[in-house]
Amino acid sequence: MPEKKAQEKQKLIDKEGKRVDGRQLDELRPIKLEVGLLSSADGSAYIEQGKCKILAAVYGPREAHPKHLSLPDRALLQCRYHMAPFSVEERKSPAPSRREIELSKVIRESLEPAVFLEYYPRSSIDLFIEVLQADGGTRCAGITVAALALADAGIPMRDLVVACAAGKAEGKIVLDLSDAEDKLGEADVPVALMPTPEEAITLLQMDGNLSLEEFEQAVNMALNGCRQIYKLQKEALKAKYVPLKEEAEE
């Protein structure tokens, strides 16, 4: 308990307006993305965002299982967001928690608008997101990496989907919350964006306390974060596929 007390006194923003990890208020954590690293999956991707480490894999389109879930006019997108027992401070039971079931649902709903599900009636596209290490913002990083895995699997999409959170810490609106800011801060607003054909918000959640003005500021800040990460997503895809294209042309 004393450890917790000490943490509560920890300042989230210092006198110079910098955050615990030295970031500016509107600065993202360092992000590393990699596409196509698992050989068995039809598509896969990996993200590191701060201390978050998340792996995503896509299988399909393939036969829906269980079969009765299949839809006559479109593919089923099935999504499992799951945290490794060792991904957090205290061991998490590997059985899916209510939080993981809810997140699996909202992540799926954030990606469905992007995927041309109608191209594959009666089949299933199965997406698995494994959080290997959690450090705040896992649902957003999970969406960012899942979109890359879908693209890597060659699933036709309107665009990638990219996600980023903004929130409030010690009265200031901040971008891309770290674990401490998420737990001790006053609000968390995760947002997912599909940038084209016109900017569309495909995930929006919030918990905490914000006035309407603060909410507007937070959404806009999160969208700016999304636009930055979107560029990194495209670079990650190019890093895998441009060399392949050049090889093929030789």
Binding site: E112, N209, S211
Partner: protein
């Protein structure tokens, strides 16, 4: 089958909404008739039955003594669960909670928790060891759309109606003394749910509107008008930033109107 009927009706519903009308003659930002009855389950410490149009939700509150969470040793515990009863809709099946009932419970939970509706710091009997646990059980009795707003209002009404036994700690044991005190409620979260149909936003979708909606957006407001919880869900659709900011303005105003129906001050 309902999906096929819904597709035939989709055009009609969308055309009406484009003209600011709805199948049940409501305006775009009108809620259905709202009725509330509190305290109808005598064995529960708190209860409320809400009718929102034909949607019916019953919430029961049970209060017990338990252990606090290790990271909040000096706070009482709130637990929210939801049951989509098979008697409420042909599409509900018996079994463990599915993602829809878990999402419903978690949206209601977030509204109560984030608005600090319950004064959890007043529910401590022995710090770190024994606290009062508040169980909020949402029972959906009839599904005719917008279960979220009906459940949030029923939960709020049931909490306002809830009494807790007078617990005392004597020599390390918790005992019940005679009489009850009111459960301490500090805030009154009310949610407003929007459905997007053919690019237009409406509030309080009923079942047929939910079946054709592209996406759903729920915003929960505190009594001072601040937002405490948001959830986008439902359908294959999305929202523009403008739609979300407009929804926040409408929601702030609507939630104040609805709150007056639940909270009699």
């Amino acid at each position: 089958m309902s999906e096929i009927v819904a597709k035939v009706k989709q055009k009609q519903i969308a055309q009406l909404i484009a003209h600011g009308k709805r199948l049940d003659n409501r305006g775009i930002t009108d809620y259905r008739d709202f009725q509330i009855e509190a305290g109808l389950i005598e064995k529960a410490e708190g209860s409320a039955h809400v009718k929102l149009g034909k949607t019916e939700v019953l919430v029961g509150i049970k209060i017990d003594v338990g252990e606090p969470f290790p990271d909040t040793p000096e706070e009482g515990v709130l637990t929210v669960s939801a049951e989509l009863l098979p008697l409420a809709s042909p599409s509900f099946e018996p079994g463990p909670p599915d993602e829809n009932s878990i999402e419903l419970a978690r949206i209601v939970d977030r509204g109560i928790r984030e608005s600090k509706a319950i004064a959890v710091e007043e529910l401590v009997l022995e710090p770190g060891k024994k606290v009062i646990v508040v169980f909020v059980d949402i029972y959906v009795l009839n599904h005719d759309g917008n279960l979220i707003d009906a459940s949030v209002m029923a939960a709020l009404a049931a909490l306002l109606n809830a009494k807790m036994p007078n617990y005392v700690v004597e020599e390390g044991e918790v005992k019940k003394k005679s009489g009850y005190t009111q459960l301490p409620i500090k805030n009154h979260p009310v949610s407003i749910t929007f459905a997007k149909i053919d690019g237009k936003m409406i509030v309080d979708p009923w079942l047929e509107e939910e079946q054709v909606m592209g996406a759903r957006l729920t915003m929960t407001f505190e009594k001072d008008g601040n937002i405490c919880a948001i959830q986008k869900g439902g359908g294959y659709g999305n929202f523009t930033v403008q739609q979300i900011l407009e929804a926040a303005k409408i929601g702030q105003q609507k939630s104040a109107e609805l709150r007056k129906l639940v909270v009699k001050e």
